[in-house]
Symmetry: C2
Subunit: 426 residues, 2 copies
């Protein structure tokens, strides 16, 4: 589900660069990640297969697999299968009983949490409708902390181990620190989200990862596509339509988010030179004219459920409001496709629900404005995850921390067990 | 100058997959490219250094270096230098006396040719002002063929060998065939450029490579930055401002041109919902409002030289016309930076000449509209090559064909010598 890139190391490699007592541990840590990556990439693989894939000896692989099985990161399937001429081995895969990632999404008008297992199955999902605008950031952080505590309690009740926490925010995130530089639709500037949550939730398990919601949503969509179909496009733009509009760019199977991780900001695409003022300070931004609030207002609808009822009933004002948003979105996306020559667009968030009314006017704009569309038509598809994508991406980002460094996760669990805190978090 | 990525092969590697008499040649061909790449990447390297870098034996490296020196691809410098403790070796670098790439650019209002040596030095450059609009494609191809013949004759007079030909066109190019799918500003659709030129110039030397002018310009700019300075940005957008507007996106030191090579089409960015109709069929495209013709027309200038005189004289209409284009261009580029989080913009083509008047309004728009600009300001720089970038990129693309497969180049030269055509083309 989560792609990790690691290279084989032997003791010698490390001893050359970092001599001393730490080396032995560094080697094990690296090789442990390598073995787990091999299992994640080829579910059902045998120990011999892992050895062949990683270049490690079978003895080393066996020791590390045992360690990963004991920690419930890897599952060993009882039934034997033929792994090559004359040889048999048990098949290994990521364990559905292993740790969960806890994701939380700070939406403009909701808070969502999700507990997701290593193999991508959702164990718990919770959405609280609440308007986070015009609210001091400290207040919103208290709400988020309460949601996290609630999810951790539910995890404990279900006997689930939480391996780490991921947070999705609709703003620019400074990568290593987890500081939110700006989130215009929340009215946030320079908020130390990581520190705030660590204060609000004592004993947060594992790593705390903060990311941009649109980028996390795109990664979740990519994971879902990979699990669900063989013919998923390797490159696409995932558009998260909420009150704000964000995008996540996937190039050749990996998220592209630019030099500072600020990439994918589609919401402030200029569509009207003299349009209304946006929360970002500029005028005529796409999200002010084609975002969820703009559509609801033009359609005279109270919320998205009401809008969809009106659309289902064929109410002309509602249909016209969505079609107009589709044309504006299509115009902006035509510029994106002309620039990046990307073969597919995935409509996510609220746009996934509006897809039946949005897709045609959007596609018409692409056909008209994309230079290469006559030879290579752009595919417009509906997100499989819809509004759930970002919170699932947040949960997956927490799991990625475990998957890229399983040894540290295992060591921290052992320490917790030793000090009497127990393996299950809460 | 040109970056090549090749991996070491030994005879065994190839014999496994392609048994038979061809293998020996395939191995040599691959290793020859590998050695040349090592010399290109580390000018001044010794034979021992090449062996260490490539993993080939010193004996193999020596044989291949001798072959490359004989073909004037590599220069061996007489003076000895210390390459390691107790060892001495001659220093190897790409030969300035080696083959030239012949580049030709088909501009909307000019045809340019350039002969460029392996180390990037320009041996001959020629620009013919001629309007190629409203002219049958076959007529334009005849003009291009005449320019190519002229350049080949000049090369012969100067004793230069031409290793291949690169063509830059302002349109979408189908990558392997060299067919131009569409070039709106030339009025071209589905033109088999490669076939047309091979018919128009008998005995065209080496490979014929066709590419998009804006993408080739960006690559030339990248090469020039690498030669000229240590602190060149690894990622940037190069904007080619001519009658049309194109862009080339460089990410982490390599051109990014999308799934089909159609990327970088910035000219048809929608800037006015009810703007004038563009040659592409849509309305309100950036190049119709901020391209060279639009600026000249607003400024009341006859051509770019006239415009620059008026700007130098501080003529208000001229300054206002350029500033207005700068704001529109800045608005479009803000969307590009918000999307890609790219740290630098390079203004090329005519925009390089207009830089002193264009940069400020453009930068002001970026500061206002780019979400992350407060934390990471976007650098706006002037192209070092200006209007010459695309034709130089075309010449470099022809050289790349030689550099990635030197053995085939050497074999074709030997064949030519044998049949009495001679090593110099013409």
């Amino acid at each position: 589900m989560v792609k990790i890139f690691v290279h084989p190391l032997n003791e010698y490699d490390v001893l050359v660069t970092t001599p001393g007592p730490a080396s032995q541990h560094t080697v094990r840590r690296h090789n442990c990640a390598l073995v787990l990556d091999a299992v994640a990439a080829t579910p059902g693989v045998s120990r011999a297969g892992v050895a062949a894939r990683t270049g490690l000896t079978k003895a080393t692989v066996s020791t590390l697999v045992d360690r990963l099985v004991t920690a419930s990161l890897v599952r060993e399937e009882g039934r034997q299968h033929r792994s090559g001429p004359g040889r048999r081995g048990t098949s290994l895969s990521l364990s559905p009983d292993g740790p969960c990632g806890l994701g939380v999404e700070i939406g403009v008008d909701y808070l969502a949490t999700c507990l997701m297992g290593l193999t991508g199955e959702v164990r718990d999902e919770h959405v609280r409708r609440i308007d986070n605008r015009d609210t001091p950031a400290s207040r919103v952080l208290s709400r988020v902390a309460a949601e996290l505590r609630g999810a951790l309690q539910r995890a404990e009740r279900e006997g689930l181990t939480v391996g780490g926490v991921g947070v999705a925010v609709p703003g620019l995130v400074e990568a290593p620190s987890g500081r939110v530089l700006v989130a215009p639709n929340l009215g946030w500037e320079n908020i130390d989200l990581a520190a705030g949550l660590r204060t609000g939730v004592l004993d947060l398990p594992g790593e705390l990862v903060v990311g941009n919601e649109a980028n996390l949503a795109a990664v979740a969509e990519l994971d879902a596509m990979r699990r669900g179909e063989e013919t998923a496009p390797a490159s696409f733009v995932h558009v998260s339509g909420e009150i704000g509009i964000g995008a996540g760019i996937v190039l050749d199977g990996a998220l592209f988010d630019g030099a500072n991780g600020f990439g994918g900001e589609l919401g402030h695409f200029p569509v009207r030179p003299r349009g209304p003022r946006c929360s970002c300070g500029a005028v005529g931004c796409l999200e002010r004219l084609a975002g969820q609030d703009a559509i609801l207002s033009s359609a005279g609808a109270d919320d998205v459920d009401d809008l969809v009822s009106r659309l289902d009933a064929g109410e002309r004002t509602a249909v016209a409001a969505v079609r107009s948003a589709g044309r504006l979105l299509g115009s902006a996306l035509s510029a994106v496709v002309n620039l990046l020559d990307i073969p597919a667009i995935v409509l996510g968030g609220t746009y996934a629900r509006l897809y039946p009314w949005l897709a045609d006017p959007l596609s018409a704009e692409l056909s008209c404005r994309v230079m290469g569309s006559r030879w290579r038509p752009v595919e417009v598809r509906r997100s499989a995850l819809g509004a759930d994508a970002a919170v699932r991406g947040a949960a997956a980002s927490a799991l990625r921390a475990v998957l890229t460094d399983p040894d540290t996760y295992i060591a921290s669990r052992t320490a917790r067990s030793g000090s009497g805190i127990g393996a299950t978090s809460g």
